[in-house]
Structures are given as structure tokens and as C-alpha cells.
Symmetry: D2
Subunit: 481 residues, 4 copies
């Protein structure tokens, strides 16, 4: 039975189509994060519109595929989990090229790159000229940058690497076909800071043999973010590329300020950040930012193939959902939460006779000494926290033994330094952490610690009386990543 | 209002839980593609079960994240498009390590690797010992293999590359930090086949400077799949690794037979295939297969970070949905469809005075001469097919000009050979092509061709009378990938 | 990084928007099931477009709700399970009115009504003038029809009801505020057929006291579909409305032919069919069809409120997904499958010494005698079939006892007749049944029967020797619906 | 490649299964809204578990359907929008019966009824003994109650109806087969209140001819919620059922208090409330509450068929998502927002020389006079508000003309009274309204009013000079519902 649709309804329907078209076209024209966030309905509208641009979704004729890869998806569930965008991004080994079969996916890639740039501008990196979202982890993205610079520096064999005890950072150098020259941090009161002089000396000595210097701006206390300003000045002076591993550093205002300053006063060729760690999307992508247009172009061209569009999609959907104003909120919140966490940790440490390292430049991670737990039991304490539902907290013990990674030997791997210490506990406050989580963290930490030392005391009594030790349980390895 | 649930219903409910647990546990125990495909309901059950194993989805307590990356996802739509599996796969720069925070994602990765191996066994590659699904395109996966062999061959600088005119293949070598030694194919009647002798000579001369030989088994006619048997014998004889780019070759029984034979009679270190091209999933992943366990282990370890779990998920869901029997169906269908396409193409070619190249070993792609279209108009003809909704069909013109890719110069790029020819049309029959598509392809091809030559004739008349030429429209570049 | 989008891409994008608009506008203009089915992508496009018409999804301004019900949905999952269409259909107690707040939902309702009419035309009911899809079960829909006729027949108290042993049919009369005059079927060889003479006599006697005659055209053998032609002639002669309960009768060509003939030769006021039973959608809706426009109008007006749009949505999505040609397929398939089932049942019956009732007009359900199972064990046999995963098969035992429903007493309820019989097994072949299901049905039936009679024999031995009986297990009640 | 899953992972996996089972079983055991809300992941887990209980989703064997309705769903999209729960609720004409084919759907129905009861208890209706969620609008639910009481009161013909100008309320009486005796409200200062004496007189006179009294507790100002306490005392005294139409009254603490008091001091047989208006779910369901167990049982039994499970599912998902604490939040918020809205409206009215009616018992809707707009233009003003994106605001004009609904004539329909007035504007604050909406409402109201009176003034000038009137635009009819 037809309802009585008339002129009035017809007009409203035309208004609806016009509004939708205007919204989508204006988004495409501006390629900017909208001021207000979009509803889920509008996100659906956007995804339908976008996927209509891929040839296999044509509605005006039946698409015929006569090639070796035509976006065919067998399983309806899989199709839907990709919102019918199945062609990936890039073409012929250039992530920035438009794939004629998949204009929608190409538009998505373009939007994600522009949104990433806009987001970095909003966060304070105003000088960024160009970004690319890659469906690669941070390590692979660092590799991609180094790879793309190979032709420019044909004599290069080494990357000056400021020690950060995280395997993928080191591996990214070997993956790109280079070897690290490892520079240990130096101690400055509680902090481990960049040994600028050593870097300078190496570059002076090795010159063209150096592909680039890799600095790290987000790390676990007591390591400090690297002194990117000093390094960029050295790089500028000697005409050596400077690669910044800023994995989760977008969360820290101070880090952003330092990267901006490094660009001002020296040389920064590329800054790599994880998507999931900064933008609250699933693991799988990174954004590479550069202060010159052509820096990104050459990186994009060195990618050998077509790639998943999922990280691009996730970033675009998230930034559309938030809008500009809501986008900044969680970053502001992180700052407050970090200070709160720090206060709580200091208070907890005081209560139990420990202390919290002073690492003023690290605004994400804190470290508390564990002098009241015997070194041999510290790892077990970490496992207990994990069993209590706390993830990410990490106990670092000190050790003289060697760890070999890709042929490199490290003493005391995990501590970012060969220097010995008494063991400490790392906790971090990253974007997205809630008040409720923070409360729970300290509730569980407090009760777990109390129970743990009680049981240690009992055990000591037993050992004193019987001479036997209870075995340490096998424990989860709490290493980063 | 409570309905009257009693003993009977309680028993049925226990049966339901038992059946679900049994199904899921048995899947996990066997790690094999099930015989019968699963319904969407069962896939949902599977995804819920899996994601329950990631710590951020704990239902028994509120998870507390105190690290730098805790699987937090801001946008409900994004969360759902990932089925709550947000941690990615791998850990600390090893794709095969279990991430304690994300047991579910780790289980998914493990299942995808085992399913991939099972699938290759079902397709006839019985000797494969180990597989890894990587969230990388084919080119990046080739790079990853080469990268992982670097330490084993410290003097290696070159990769012997059997020319295939597809940019990402060549780029993968540069990306890994090596240079290609290019070997052109030789003509054997219609086919372009492997120049085995030249490869042998190069290896004899360069020995340890060679990282590996890269062969390609899926390509556009008239190029033939490479003679992997002969190459593997040479590689075995000289102890040089052999890397097979089998991008979409799983579709061809003959190719599988040859790879299996190559392994039997010589040396094959890794075989790389695209997920989307062979398994009908979205772009974004590849599967690397090896005939020895430890070959995959070292490849996995050279990946510098944690990676997207999406390609693994897509593969697992698709193979669960199909089950073993239905899995083989589309491959059998492809074989029939290819023969049908070939017959139709020959008949069409005869009608218009063209001929189809005889390339007996290429069971996916065919090529038809375009002698009835002037070379200058051939590209335009390709664009017209695209506008008619045919994707993947590709016109290859002949040219003396040079194309430079990553510093290498190629004459006649796109033709896989420097040799000149009269232009041809490529069409391929890949897995998933339907009868309806094939019918439409020839209907549109026939009518487009007829219209095209009619208009050419008219234009000739006009030119003869007026001397003016109509401009060739800007056209989509039909290059592969 | 912007890709290099140019004129060509702009043109394609405009083509995409134009095609989408054309498709959707043309659907809305024609309000017909499209010839070819739509892909999931196109269904998404459709749903996004539709929901954009509801005011709470406006994209050009923030909607402000100042009423008591504004389509607000709290849970993102719920919102998504409704594709953002949350306002329901109808207005102010008229299901056909347009709700200004929810033009999209109103359009959906309109499309579902027109699609239903188109579907009935395609199935052969060409004379249907108007349909309405209601979010009500068949019984409630029958009630709604009766309710809407009340004002027209102010003296009416009774509905002439041709006994069909299905509770909701009887209850629908009481629900509407009337009482049934029950007419038992008469036996014609194996079949139970309409007692036309008695109906005639009652109408002659009671005249204006009769609201309508309710016939049933889909039922379990050995009951035959009612003789709607004869009844409609009587109704026409005496000016009494005729209501046809065609719950799952659209599956039978013969039933459709008879309803069409009944309309030709007499009077049919409304025909009610279940959505889920005929169109393979979830339970929850019905379609009421009439041969005159105004018949539906008055039914729609008697509905007191706004209603769920879910059944309308499910029907529209399903018919769009199928398209005209594929829509008819499962109906054709049902016909073949029914004949196959019948042949298999006859053959099975012969093997075990039973026989299948000859009920030539019932093309959906069959009945096989159970003389080889003692009456007291027949119900248990039914339960065993259920436990073997067979749903819908139903054992009907004969009984002298009374069942009271809404105050009416029935002897032998479930058998559609007071007449006693030896017990039988009903199975039906409905639209959507697969070959595999049919095979499995007979495999399980055969083995279950064999095992059952074997155990009966053993038990008899035991009883003979010991005098004890094993208890009959509590069993599921296999009653219809 | 298998990752190295060991004992530790096995233990964690068992913990995961145990936690999930515990959560779901405990939910089923308690049948209570959980204290804390559930994540989307947990809702997925719940839906998968539930749908596993429906026979067509069996994972231990292939289900075989041999009946006329087996939960078959053709379209994957539709299947997914129902989370594989396709059987509906109820059986054989009793909404509370368990459907053996669909235990999961039956469990869902049971949970929704228990959750509804729990929700009413949390809101303050502690004496409610039983609830049923029906997939029917409020009007149909009222009908269902009346229908179920028919047998108990065989002489009943009338329902005493306290005039509320909302069509579906009146229609529900006719739908059930009764006629209304209309009692107009009486004026008490600004409010329109219940004429208790007249009700009493009618019941004394008509006695057994009265099926029930229907009161309404949620309505637009200046009508007050009915005096349910006085009416329930009368009903108790004369043993007449009392049906409360509490459509959106759960939002008002005062209304809940009055219903509770009415039950204490007299007789309330059933209280009907809309799901969407109170619980922020899509349109389509209602909850009927009773203070005695058997009252609901007989209502459930009068439903003639099986019904959609969608409203039950939506309610359960929403209450699981909220949890107990968050469930109460929006109700508390509504109270504050209503006061805020009222203050703003009074201030706006003062500024423009209008006043707001004092209707102290109506805590949802407010009314402001429109004396500054000529009666003939008031409707146009309403349309303008709608065009500005304000839905639900409603202009009520006064009129001497008659409106006929189901044969009843009303003077001044829309005003709840025959009494004439000068026209007013209704706005309501319902649960879910946000601060932002409220701000926008007054911003748009203020500017629209200013513009409207400015244009009226201009028009008056023109009329004075030319004598012509500009036509009033066709406008949306702003009637409730």
C-alpha cells in the first residue's frame, strides 16, 4: 500500500540528498578533520559512498574482472568487516598512486594522509608538510625510511643508534640492510640522557658511512626522550639524515615541542609514530611525517606493492568520529592523568620506603625503585601484577649477563644501559587511560605489594627454619612490546 | 515473566555449551581447516571466543592498562570492524611470539599459519613444512625473506632476477638492500621462457656475491612461469638460496606441480604468495611457505615489530567458512573457466583476424595479438574496455623507449622483454571468476571491438579528406597492479 | 600526502554519485523488486540513504528533539542492528501514514507494501490490488482484519471457523472479540476436506450475526487446504466477508491458483500470509493482501499506534538481494523437493510396512501412518527425531480426551478432526529446504526408526519375562508453532 | 607456523572459558540486570551464546528442518541484523511458552521479562510482581490487556476512557472490541485534571457493562497525569479492572510514586509502557506490568501466535550495556533537564509577553501560550520550528470544529478538552535529551520567534496597503505520534 507521498516529502528527500552530497564533497574538497564529530549513521554514509568508487562495487553495470586480482571476497563476514573496501591502497609499488580499479580505496588513503597531517598540526607540529599512513608497524616504517634514503647515500653502511632497549627499533636497522653504531645513554641524576658528544664524534669520524642518526622520543623511565634538538643541529651541520622514532610521543606536549624545535634549529628528515599508540585504533599502522613534501614522496615510492587499507580506514573513521575538538580532549586528559599517576606513585613509594625516579622530560612513563623486594623475586612480583589484570606494568631487574639480538650483544638489556641498578617498576599513562583504571591500578598495586612482602617474610622464616626455598613460578616475560 | 524452564532445557543448554567448547577446543587442538564449512553463527562464536582471550576483553575483572599500548579503541565502529581483536600479532620483533596481553590474537596468528600450511597441502604442496601469514604485500614479503638471509650470506650484494615487468618485484630487491642482476627471458615460439644458461653462468661467476635467485611463477602471457625446476637444480648445485615469487600461482595445478618438483630435485628456500589473489580475501597479506621449519622461524624473527592481525583473521574466517571440500572448488572451477576463456578468445580472435599466443605453461593469463588496431590506438582501446566495466584486461604496446625504475633502465617495459612486437591484449582468468562474468566479458569485448574499428575507419576517412586527427583521449594506465 | 587526483577521477566520482542516485531514485519511483538482485554493498548504500531521511540522522544540522519520543537509541550495538532506522512505521494509529519525523522509515514501509504486492503478482496472484506488511504474527493479522470489519457488520458476533488444530488461528477470533462457530472437516478417502454444505447452512441461518468465514489454505496432511472456491461463492451469495489464512501457502502453486480462482468466482476480502514462512526472513511479520484498495486502507487504520519497521526492512532487503528472477527460484525448488520428499517417504513407508496418505491438494505436508509403533510409544518416537536434530517433524497420536482452548472443547486436538486414527508422522517440505537436508532427514529417520523398533522388541521381551515396563521419557511436545 | 603455546597459555585459556561460562550462567541464574554495564565484546559473547541455543544454529550436527517454519533466513545481511536469532518468541499462542526449536530465543524472552521487572523495581515500582515485554506498540498492548479480560467480564461492552487526545489510545478500545465512555477532564487553574466524580457515577450506573477504566499518566500539558489513586480506589470499591496507560511515564518520579500509591490504596490490573519512550531503544515494543503473577499469564495467553524477538533483544542488550547504576542515570538527568527547560521556557515567555501554564504534576511536558501570534498563523509557526530541525515541539490551536475518530466526535481534538483557548506551544523533555539539545532548542526557538513576528509585522503593513494576504505555506501536521 503506497502511503500518500507528496510534494513536501519530495522536497525533503531532495534536501536530504543535497545535504549528504554537500557533506561528502566538502570533506573531499577540504580533506580536513571536521570541526564536529560525525555520528555512526554519517560514518556509514561515508563508507557506502567511498566503497561505491571501487569498480567491483559499481551499481550502474555488472563489473567484469579479467585480471589477476579483482577485489573478490568470498566470505560475506569478511566483506562486511572491510565495508566492501577490498582493494587496498597504492599501486605498482607506490603507496601514493591512485589505483584506477579502486578510486574509493585511493581516496581513503589520500584522506588518511591529509587527516594525519591535520592531526599533527592540531597537536602542535605546525611545520609538518606531508604525512603518509602506512599499514606497517613502527619498526617497519623506520626501515622504510632508511631504505628510501639508500640511493641518496650510496656509501652508507651504518645507522647511529641511541640505545633504547626495544627489539624492534634495533631490528629495523638490520631489516633495512644497515648496521647500528650503538651509543649508550649517560646518566644525569636519575635520568638516562643522550650522549650528544659521542654522536658528534662518530659523525665527524664516519661521515658518509652514516646513513642517518635514529633518535627515540618515547621510552620508559628512567630513560629520557632523546635530545633531538642537539642531534638535529649536528645532523644539519654534517648533512646527515635524522630519523625520529616518536612511537608514542604524540601524547606528550613536551615531546612535540622538542621535535618542533629540532626542526627549527636543525635537521629532521622523518618522524615515525604508531597509529594505535597515539590514536586509539587497533595495531597495524604508523604515520610517517616530514617537514618537506618530497621526503614523503620518496618513502612512498620505495614500498614494493599494494597494501592494506585497514589502518588508513581506522584512522579516518576515528578522526571523523571525534572531530577536531574531541580529538584534542584525550591528549589533554593524558597530561592530567600522568600528573595524577605520578602523585599517587610518589605517595605509594613513600609509604613502602621506595622512591620514584625524577625524569622530568618523560611525561608518559614513571619508574619506582624496588629495593624492598630481593632482586631474585622482582620478576615474580611483575607476574603477579599481570595475573591481577594489570597489563603494561613492567618490572626491570638488573643483570650482568648478555643478551644477543641480531648479533649485537647487550649487557643489562631492558634497562637501556649497561649500568647496574637495584630493580624498578615501570608504569605508564597513555592516552585513553581512565580515572577508574588509575584507581584500580593503585588499589591492586597496593594490595598485591602488601600480600607479596607478607609472603616473602613467611618464606624467609621457613627458609631460616628448613633451609629449603620455594621455587619461583614461571612468569610472563614483561618485556616491552 | 519467567517461562517454565526446567530440567530438559537445562540439559539442552549444557549440551549446547559442551558442543561449542568441543568444536572450538578441537579446532585449536588440530589446527586444521575443518572438513565442513562453518556457518556465520559459528564464525561469530569463534570470534567471541578468540577475543575473550585478549586481556582488554576480560570478563572476570576490569582490565587495567599501565603500559604504552593497551588495545584501547576509541570508535565503536572501528572496534566492531575488528571483532574486538585489536592487539595485532607478534611481539618484540618476532611475528611468531605469543603476546601475553593478547593470547587470542596470538592464537589467531597461529591458526592462520597452520591453516595456510594445510591449504597448501590440500592444493598439492605436500612437502611444505611451515608457513607464515604476514600482513604485508607480496613485494614486502619477498623483501622480508631476502633480509632474513643477509646474515647467512655476508658477502652477498646481488639478487639474480628473471625479468618480470612488474615494479614491486624489482623494488622488493632494492627495498631489502640488494641490487638485481637482470636476466631477460628468451623466446621459445610464442612463449618467453627462462634463460637457464645465463643464470647458471652468473652464479658460477659471482658465487657468494649472490644472495639468491628470484623466480616468478605467475605472470602475464606470453611470459611463461619460470623454469623453477632447472633453477632449483642450479641453486642446489651452487648452494645459493632460491626465492619463488608465486604471487597468484596457487591457482594453477601445473605451477604447483612444478614447485613441488623443484623442491624434490633441487633447492627452494621460500615460496611467497599473495593472500588476496589466491584466497579471495581483501588486499593486505601474503603467505610465505618453506620446506624446512627453521626457514620460517628466521624470517619471522627479522620482522621488526608487532603487526596487523587482519590478514590472518580474514584467511582463517574464509577457510573456516569454506571448509576443506569447498576450499578446493574454486580452484577446480578456475581450471575449467580458463579453458573456456581460452576457447572463446581463440574463436573471437579468428573472427577478427587476430591470433592467440600459445603459452602452454601459463594457465591463468592469455594474450591476443592486436594487429588490426594501429599501435598508436591500442592504448585507447584498453581504456575503452575499462570504461565498459572490464577491469584487469590490459593492452600492451611495444616501444623502444626506456623506463627507469629504481635506477634500472628497461626497454619495452610491460612486455617482459626488450624484443619488439605488434601489441597485444592480456586477459586473465583468476579464482572466483564466474560464468556470468565470462559471458559479459566477451559480449562487451566483441561489441567494443566492433565499434572501435568502425570509428577508426570513419576517422581514417576524415583524415583522408581533411588531414586532421582526432586526439586520443587521456587513458587509464593499464599497468599491472 | 595527497595523491594526484585529477579531472579523470573527478569525472568518475560524479558518475558514481549519479549512478547511485539514479538507482535509488528509480527504485523509489518504480517501487518494484528490481530484476537483478543487489549486492551487500548496494544494500548498505540503500540503508544509509533511507536512514538519512529520518530527522534524527540529519547531517546538515544537529537535530533537536523536544517531544516524548525522538528516535534516541542508547546502545551503539542496538543502533547498528537497526541500521539507524529507529522510528518504526505508521503514525497516530494508521500504519499507512507518513511520519514527518521519519520519512525514511515511512518510505521503507511503503516499499515493503509495494514489494509484497509485486511478489504476490510474480507468484501468480495478479488480481491483488493492495498489500500491507504488518509487524504482527499471522494470528494477530487475522485479528486485525476481523477488527477492522466490526463497524461494517454491527450485528456480527461469530466467525465461521473451519477447524484447523492450530491454537493461534482459533485465538485470533477471540482476540478480536468474536466467537467461533466450528465446522469439522469431512473425510474424502485419505483427505480431510471442507464441509461446504454445513458452512452454507450456517450462513443461511445466522446471516448478519456472522462477521466472516475463515478458511485455511496451508495445513498439515491429511487435512487438505480448504475449498476456498466454494466458500467464496457462498460468501458472495450471502454478502459475508471471507478471510483466508494462507499462512505458508504462497509456497504452493496449486494454493495460489485456488485463491486466484476464489477471487474470480466469488468473494475474498483479505488473504493473510506469514513473512517468515514464505519469504525466509526472521519471525515477526505478516503480509495482508486484498483485491480492493480500500480493504487494506481500513485495516491499516484500525491499528492503534506506531509499529516496528523490522519486518518491513527484512522483507525489502531480502527481495532486493534476490531480485525478481532469484525470487522465484526457491518456490520452484520447493515444488521439486516436495515431490522428491514424497517419493522417498513412500519408499520408506513401503519398506517398513506403513503407508503415506494420499492428500493430492496438500503440496507442502505429508503424513505417514505409524501402525508399526504402539500408540503409547508414538510420542516418544517423535522426541527421538527431535533429539537427532530433526525439527518440524511431528507425531500425531489419536485420543478421545478433550482439550480446552479459550473455552472451546476439542476431541483429538492436533488431528484436525474428532475422528480417531492409528497415529501418523507429519513432515513438511517448505521453501528453503536443501537437498542435503532432505538426504539427512531420511538417513536419520531410517536409522532412528530401525533402532526404535529394535529396542521396542527388546523391551517387549523384558516385559514378557519380568512384567515391568520401562518408563517413557518425558518428551518435547511436538505441536505445531 | 605454530607459536610456542604452553602450559601457561592453556591455563589462561581455561580461565577464559570458565569466566565466560560463569558470567553467562550467573546471568541466567539470577535473571537480573548486572551491577556494572557490559562491554560490546561481552554483548557479542552473550548473543553468540544465546543463538547457539536455537536448533538451526546447532554446531554439533547439521540441523534438519522438516516443518513449515525452521528459522531459515536467506539474506546474510538480515541474518546478521538479527544476530542469528530468527525464531521469534512464544509458541502456540502463548508468549510465555518455551519454543523447543528455539531455546535461545525463549531464554531471551524470559530475560527481557525479568529485566523489565527489575528495571521497574529500580525505578521505584517495588510491588510489581510480573512483567511481559511484547513486540507491540502501546496501543496494541492496551488492547491485548482488554482482550484478555473479556472472558472474566462477559457482560462488558464499555471502557471508561479519560479523554486524552491521542488517536491510538482511543483506537485500542475499538480494536479490542469495546466502546469508550468518554469522560472529559475538568479545569483546575491551569491544569486539566481527572473528573473523578463522573467516573464514579458511570461505574455505579453501568457496573458489569464496564470492562475497565483506562487512565493515562503521561500526556502533554496542560493535561495532568490522571488521578490514578482516586480511580483505583473507585475500581477497588466496585470491582472493576483498572488499566493504566503509562506510555512514557517511567521518566517521572512523581508518576511512579502515584502508580505505586494507587496499587497500595486500590486496584491496578495492568500498567503499560512504551519501550522506546522510556528505555531509549527503537520503536516496536512495550512492557506490561502487573502487581499479580497471574495477571500477566492470562495476557500472554491471549496473544494468538509467535512474535518478533527484536524488542526483547533490544531491551536486554540496552540494560546489559548500562548495568544497574548507569540505568538510573538518564532518569535522574531527565529530572534536572526538565527543571532547566522549564526555567528557560518561563524566561523566554516573559521576554516575549507570554506565559507558561502551571501544571505541577506534569514533569515531562510544558506548554507556553501563543497570544502574540494570531491563531491563523500558529500552525505555520509550528512548521517553521520543524524546518529548523526541532522535532516534537507542537503548536496546539483552538477550534470549534469536529474531528471524527472511529465514529466518535471530538470538539477541539488535540487540546484534550472541548474548552476553547488561545493556542499554545508544547515542548517536552524526555529521557536522553542532552544539554546541547536544550541549548540549541532555545537558540532556535528564540531566533525563529523573533523572525516570525518581524515578518508578521511586515505582512500586516502590506495587507494594510494592498489588501492581499500572503498564503500560509502547507505545513507538517504536528499531531502527537
Amino acid at each position: 500500500m503506497k502511503a500518500n507521498f507528496g510534494k513536501k516529502e519530495g522536497e525533503y528527500s531532495r534536501l536530504v540528498s543535497k545535504s549528504s552530497n554537500k557533506l561528502l564533497n566538502s570533506l573531499w574538497e577540504k580533506k580536513q578533520i571536521p570541526e564536529e564529530g560525525w555520528s555512526e549513521h554519517t560514518l556509514d554514509l561515508f563508507l557506502s559512498w567511498l566503497s561505491s568508487h571501487d569498480t567491483n562495487n559499481r551499481v550502474d553495470m555488472i563489473p567484469v574482472g579479467a585480471g589477476e586480482r579483482e577485489g573478490r571476497v568470498l566470505t560475506p563476514l569478511v566483506q562486511r568487516l572491510h565495508s566492501n573496501l577490498t582493494h587496498g591502497i597504492g599501486r605498482s609499488g607506490n603507496l601514493l598512486e591512485i589505483q584506477p580499479k579502486a578510486l574509493g580505496s585511493s581516496m581513503l588513503a589520500c584522506l588518511s594522509n591529509e587527516f594525519a597531517k591535520h592531526a599533527l598540526h592540531l597537536l602542535g607540529l605546525h611545520a609538518v608538510k606531508s604525512c603518509i599512513v602506512v599499514p606497517l608497524c613502527t619498526g617497519m616504517s623506520l626501515s622504510l625510511c632508511m631504505t628510501s634514503w639508500r640511493r641518496r647515500r650510496p656509501k652508507a653502511k651504518y645507522v647511529v643508534w641511541l640505545r633504547i632497549d626495544q627489539k624492534s627499533s634495533l631490528k629495523s636497522i638490520y631489516h633495512a640492510g644497515f648496521e647500528p653504531i650503538i651509543v649508550e645513554p649517560i646518566r644525569d641524576r636519575d635520568s638516562l640522557i643522550t650522549d650528544v658528544e659521542t654522536v658528534n664524534r662518530i659523525i665527524e669520524q664516519r661521515g658518509e658511512e652514516i646513513l642517518c642518526v635514529m633518535t627515540t622520543t618515547s621510552c620508559f623511565a628512567p630513560r629520557s626522550p632523546d635530545n633531538v634538538e642537539a642531534i638535529s643541529a649536528i645532523c644539519a651541520a654534517h648533512d646527515v639524515p635524522h630519523l625520529v622514532n616518536n612511537a608514542y610521543g604524540l601524547q606528550s606536549e613536551e615531546t612535540i615541542r622538542k621535535i618542533a624545535a629540532a626542526h627549527e634549529c636543525g635537521r629532521v628528515d622523518a618522524v615515525v609514530q604508531s597509529l594505535d599508540k597515539n590514536f586509539q585504533v587497533p595495531v597495524g599502522g604508523a604515520v610517517i611525517a616530514a617537514f618537506k613534501q618530497n621526503h614523503i614522496q620518496s618513502i612512498a615510492q620505495s614500498y614494493p606493492g599494494r597494501a592494506s587499507s585497514v589502518p588508513s580506514r581506522d584512522l579516518v573513521l576515528t578522526l571523523l568520529y571525534q572531530g577536531q575538538s574531541a580529538f584534542l580532549e584525550p591528549f589533554g586528559k593524558q597530561k592530567q592523568m600522568f600528573l595524577k599517576m605520578r602523585r599517587k606513585l610518589i605517595s605509594f613509594a613513600e609509604n613502602i620506603g621506595e622512591c620514584v625516579y625524577e625524569v622530568p622530560e618523560n611525561e608518559i612513563s614513571s619508574a619506582m625503585t624496588l629495593s624492598t623486594i630481593p632482586p631474585a623475586k622482582q620478576t615474580l612480583f611483575g607476574s603477579i601484577l599481570f595475573a591481577k589484570g594489570i597489563t603494561g606494568a613492567r618490572v626491570v631487574t638488573s643483570s650482568q649477563s648478555k643478551t644477543t639480538i641480531e648479533g649485537c650483544e647487550f649487557i643489562n638489556f631492558g634497562s637501556h644501559t649497561t649500568e647496574q641498578h637495584g630493580g624498578y617498576l615501570n608504569i605508564a599513562c597513555s592516552v585513553g587511560m581512565t580515572d577508574h583504571e588509575l584507581e584500580e591500578l593503585f588499589t591492586r598495586l597496593t594490595s598485591s605489594y602488601a600480600k607479596f612482602v607478607r609472603e616473602l617474610a613467611k618464606e624467609d622464616e621457613r627458609i631460616n627454619s628448613s633451609g629449603r626455598r620455594i621455587p619461583i613460578n614461571e612468569s610472563f616475560d614483561m618485556e616491552n612490546d
